[in-house]
Symmetry: C2
Subunit: 349 residues, 2 copies
DNA sequence: CAAAATTCTTGGAGCGCTCCAAATTATGGT
DNA sequence: ACCATAATTTGGAGCGCTCCAAGAATTTTG
């Protein structure tokens, strides 16, 4: 690969002049400029290597997005929520003329990824992992963490998941439901986990603030209706597990309403319901979470706890781009009633 | 920002040793190592700056994805097709441990973006723009161009769009349709363009090989049924234009079948049909293109010309990652019949 | 026509790091 | 103790570029 210096030598001028030809051509006498350009062509020099410039001025002009937990970028792209989040981030990047780097990191390589990412700032997916935050702080780059509050010194954006969960339950109890099932999220790879009532270890503290908060909201909402979450089966499946719906119906046949942690999970249930000939909301009501665009397109359209996912992504990007003093933002959430919830039938299916 | 040298000075050791402490700690005597680590902590040195390493070994460990035409990354993320494509790319990046950089570029900055992107290779969205290819070649980095064949020296991946288009028309004429409307894509920003039969300038050569090919396929398919594309209204809308459906129904009320260029467009039509009480496929058949996941979830599910979008993205990434001799890949396409197409009713609505 | 003003070019000084051959120090066996 | 051997540590040599002060060439001015 030829360098500025090579071209300079070939054209009989200095490095600096060649640099000028490419970056500030108006500074170079036309005739000389042409000579340099000719030399560059002959040597197959396609312009200054960005590496050099980078080292010089020290800006990558990029921000990094690191998926939550140990998820890969591809998993983010698969989920309706993840896509909208990335869309929001990319919107802000478009506006700022910044590159968006989707940084991968498996469990073991996540720290190295943060240490070495070629970015000027980070967006960290939600994480219970304090180590990750420390890694990010070491980089001395602006960053924001999603879906968990990491204290006053750290940028964070989350939604009011608890209120959302409470609202979901209230909506359903208001409709008359008394028999629930909860489809929660398993944050480690593996098959669904079924927690039936009465079992010892209930997953109320899974370790992910995101999930814990919603579970607590469900608990509170149920308590308001004199119901105990301890009597409600809780199933945990990985986010995109297509068997989620089946596991729910197999294990919680008496439920008239299913609470979920995401639209994606709710959609899985809808799909399984179709396969089994179970009517939604006739036989069972299903409520989603996130209010993604997908939730409006299902059959029937999903009742869901909506948040502004795109806005959240955009705000996250802006926060790292603007590098202002740390803020902890809590975004509101809103119950959107559509057609997947209704009063339970008098007689249980 | 402290550097290796600073830490070295503070700890009374050389640059090299500090580097070793961070990169190959086993090479450094534990006691010394600790001293260095202590010094690093005091100075707030968070590890070697990736910039330096980068310059040294010259690899970014990233590939860039540049959206087609003058679209922004956000526009790609909005479209079902774009999302699956990026998903496929990210899948390959996950596997390779590579970062995926979503490189923005407006009309004016696209060339600069290519020149300066901090990547080891490129995936270029489809483009009629020869300048872009030249830019990419100048970088002397592996790259692949999507949806247009740029000659034997350049990596490219496209689908057999013509055959797909022919298959779409055959399916519909086979069902008995004789009255068509085509919803094509406008590749510049702006309102829909309506080309009614008999008008002078018909958009058969829009300049985007991607679109041209499909239009030709439609033409051929129609010809096979003794129909002329010159008698078929062609409407062009930008990819995500939500008014597309309305424009189609307003301008082509007599059509019994609508051919589209993407599932996204077809979905728009479905939405508008619901609003107007037009039945699909009762009153009008609609056929999509791409076979994205979304196409299976609509009401009714879309008949579409399916391609393996995820596989395409993955292959594209692999091609630039592997940096093998240039290939021109043409991917097959398949008619997937679902419920949005049916025989036309005897009497036109 | 010389001096002053203007326009171009030059090359040193980094940017922060890793590699590597050479130098230094420690270890172990007589 | 002494030397061979092994284990550590060192610092020069880049990586390719841009900035910038200073020098050179050219043009303008009086």
């Amino acid at each position: 690969m030829p360098t500025l210096a090579d071209v300079g030598k070939a054209a009989g001028v200095s490095r600096g002049t060649v640099s000028n030809v490419f970056n500030r051509p108006e500074l170079v006498r036309p005739e000389l400029r042409e000579r340099v350009e000719a030399a560059a062509r002959t040597l197959g020099f396609g312009g200054p290597d960005p590496k050099g410039r980078l080292l010089r001025d020290g800006k990558f002009n990029a921000i990094g997005f690191m998926p939550p937990g140990a998820y890969a970028i591809a998993e983010v792209m698969r989920s309706p929520y993840g896509r909208e989040l990335v869309l929001g981030v990319s919107l802000a990047c478009d506006e700022a003329g910044t590159t968006l780097s989707l940084v991968n990191g498996t469990d073991n390589t996540r720290f190295a990824s943060i240490r070495e990412a070629l970015v000027d700032g980070f967006i960290l997916g939600h994480s219970a992992d304090i180590g990750l935050i420390t890694s990010a702080q070491r980089r001395r780059l602006p960053f924001v963490i999603l879906e968990s509050d990491a204290g006053p010194d750290i940028n964070s954006i989350k939604i009011d998941g608890r209120s959302g969960a409470v609202a979901a339950v209230r909506h359903l109890t208001g409709l008359g439901h008394r028999h629930f099932g909860i489809l929660s999220i398993r944050r480690t790879p593996g098959p669904p986990i079924v927690h039936m009532p009465g079992q010892a270890k209930r997953p109320l503290l899974a370790g992910f603030p995101l999930d814990d908060e919603r579970l607590e909201g469900f608990k509170q909402g149920l308590a308001e209706a004199n119901l105990s979450i301890d009597d409600v089966p809780i199933i945990e499946t990985t986010p995109g597990d297509p068997s989620a719906g089946a596991v729910v119906f197999d294990n919680v046949p008496e439920a008239t309403a299913i609470l979920t942690m995401s639209d994606w999970q709710a959609i899985t249930i809808l799909d399984e319901a179709v396969r089994r000939g179970i009517e939604v909301p006739g036989h069972v009501s299903v409520i989603g979470f996130d209010g993604t665009a997908e939730s409006a397109r299902t059959t029937p359209p999903l009742t869901t706890i909506a948040q502004d996912v795109i806005g959240k992504g955009r705000l996250a990007a802006r926060m790292v781009l603007d590098n202002e003093p740390p803020r902890q933002v809590v975004l509101p959430v809103e119950l959107v009633v559509r057609a997947s919830t209704a009063a339970p039938r008098a007689k249980i299916r």
